[in-house]
């Protein structure tokens, strides 16, 4: 039983990790939070849904499409809420993205209705037994994609020229600019990557629970925030470990506590961390 929960927790946690990576990437570069990130997550799932139901595409292409769509959305948000406002104050982009999240959420509700929709999955329900762990094909797919993306992301950030440019810009926007790095473009790219990750997470979570709704972004967005606080804002490892950790905690607490407390657990942890160790478990990026 516990073994099963661990697998479930890992699966859930890996999607949370992707969402958290999106948040942390934006925070690392700009020191700001994109409050509409949860909605990008949600819309990524809906784009994939549309591609599958209306376009007849396979789940593979729906994933790609969702990622691309989410990335585009992220770039639009950067242009509208961050580029014109990031030098104005820390608060202005935050408020703007709060407004955007309200806008996007109601837009989705108008277009798709307020109830949740099934996610038509073309993956067979098949189970595998690995010692004490029972894992479904779906979970394997989700885990493969999440961890695959995380690995690609790590490599990208550490090894590629653009990744290094992103890290440099993270350290100091000003110095990066002096060094000739096209800061504006790097920021735009970071948003694209962060949103792509968020979009994929939305699709994977939709697959996991076989349901997506216009409101799913709200809670997940807030949880993503919790994760990066726990893991250290701007810290990539922290985001990934934090996401996995939250996945485990949630799954376990549903098993052993009533489900309404489940959400509160994440936030209670976050509150404690803020009080005791505001830099997060892995330390935050100093701005």
């Amino acid at each position: 039983m516990l073994a099963q929960q661990l697998v479930n927790g890992l699966t859930l946690g890996s999607t949370y990790a992707l969402v958290a990576l999106g948040f942390t990437l934006v925070f690392g570069i700009l020191g700001m939070i994109n409050f509409a990130h949860g909605e990008i997550f949600m819309l990524g799932a809906y784009i994939a849904l549309l591609l599958v139901t209306m376009g007849g595409f396979s789940i593979f292409w729906a994933l790609i499409g969702g990622m691309v769509g989410a990335a585009l959305l992220g770039m639009i948000i950067e242009r509208v809420s961050f580029r014109p406002l990031r030098n104005v104050s820390i608060l202005a982009p935050l408020i703007s993205t709060i407004g955007l999240s309200i806008f996007l959420r109601s837009l989705a509700q108008i277009i798709f209705g307020a109830e949740s929709t099934r996610f038509p999955v073309s993956i067979k329900t098949e189970f595998f037994q690995l010692g004490p762990f029972q894992i479904s094909l779906l979970q394997i797919v989700i885990l493969a994609i999440s961890f695959g993306l995380m690995a690609i992301f790590q490599a990208f950030i550490k090894k590629t020229k653009i990744g290094k440019a992103m890290r440099a810009t993270s350290e100091s926007l000003y110095t990066a600019g002096l060094l000739g790095i096209p800061v504006d473009r790097i920021i735009l790219l970071s948003f694209a990557v962060a949103s792509a990750l968020g979009g994929v997470a939305g699709i994977l979570l939709g697959l996991n629970f076989n349901a997506i709704s216009p409101l799913m972004g709200k809670m997940v967005g807030l949880k993503g925030l919790t994760i990066i606080i726990l893991g250290g804002m701007g810290n990539i490892t922290g985001a990934m470990v934090g996401g996995l950790f939250l996945g485990f905690v949630e799954v376990l607490s549903v098993g052993y506590l009533t489900s309404s407390y489940r959400d509160a657990v994440a936030f209670a942890l976050m509150f404690l961390v803020l009080l005791i160790r505001p830099t997060g478990l892995f330390g935050r990026v100093v701005r």
Partner: protein, 288 residues
């Protein structure tokens, strides 16, 4: 005199104005709270429960509601002192969420269903007299030791401390006072809508209150009130938009941040000097 509908709108405007001012006072000392709805809810529940379960009179239950709000404000404000800007905002957000979840699970307080049949005692007199006193207070605070202490902390806390201002004391003070006022507004709210549930005090409400201050501007104490007035009237005015209401609402903030991020009301919006300057300039331009 006035019809029931208008009276109702006026009451909401009044209560929202008090809420806006309750957030403004914490912002004045440099603290941003995105969990004010929790304090409002604490006041609402305290007052409602004291009246429905113990039969206490209105003035006492609202006072207790405000006090409870203040107590919780103190308990949250003190440990979160070291947190700045974004971190404080997130901590208060977390508190709001946790509080709502906890409340939903306490059957003794009505659980997820809430409290029904709260006696409708709030009327426009109560609301507007309270608001009037509050406005007087803020007006008097402008040229006062208290007001300067808050503002100096907001501007540069270490420098304020070096000039003898006990920042810790004043920050907790501002936060507690804000929570106290939010609790009071919550009590007024409970005895007006007669039915309250945890859903009335979720993060959405906190964001709504935040938006009053953002729209109106935190430069003066009138700003948040104007913000509250406009945003309370907006749903009524935009009623024809039906389900597109929220779209406009959300988009509005994107637009405001782009056009006028400090809010509508600036320090000299109401000063004669500033407008006469504009007219003089225009007059001169028109001259041959």
């Amino acid at each position: 005199m006035i019809d029931a509908y208008t009276s109702q709108v006026l009451t909401f405007i009044g209560i929202n104005s008090i809420l806006a001012l309750s957030l403004y006072i914490t912002a004045l000392a440099g603290q941003l709270s995105v969990g004010h709805a929790a304090f409002m809810g604490i006041g609402a529940y305290t007052s409602a429960l004291l009246m429905t379960r113990l039969g206490w009179p209105f003035f006492l239950t609202t006072a207790c509601g405000a006090l409870m709000g203040g107590v919780f404000g103190f308990c949250i404000g003190l440990p979160t002192l070291r947190l700045k800007d974004l971190y404080l905002a997130i901590a208060t957000l977390a508190f709001n969420i946790i509080w709502v979840v906890m409340l939903m699970n306490i059957e003794a307080f009505g659980g997820a269903l809430g409290i029904f049949n709260v006696p409708k005692v709030t009327n426009n007199w109560t609301v507007y007299i309270s608001l009037g006193i509050l406005l007087l207070f803020f007006h008097r605070m402008q040229d006062s030791r208290l007001g300067r202490a808050f503002r100096s902390i907001q501007e540069d806390e270490p420098a304020a401390r070096a000039m003898g201002v006990n920042a810790v004391y004043y920050k907790v003070y501002a936060f507690t006072l804000g929570a106290f006022l939010a609790g009071y507004a919550g009590a007024l709210y409970a005895h007006f809508v007669t039915f309250i549930s945890p859903h009335d005090f979720e993060v959405d409400r906190s964001i709504e209150i935040l938006l009053f201050v953002v729209l109106g501007g935190a430069q003066t104490f009138i700003g948040p009130v104007i913000g509250a007035v406009l945003l309370t009237l907006a749903p009524e005015v935009l009623r024809f938009l039906a389900e597109y209401r929220l779209l406009v609402y959300g988009l509005m903030f994107v637009v405001i941040m782009l056009l006028r991020h400090e809010g509508l009301i600036e320090e000299d919006t109401f000063s004669w000097k500033r407008w006469s300057r504009t007219f003089r300039r225009e007059g001169r331009a028109g001259a041959p």
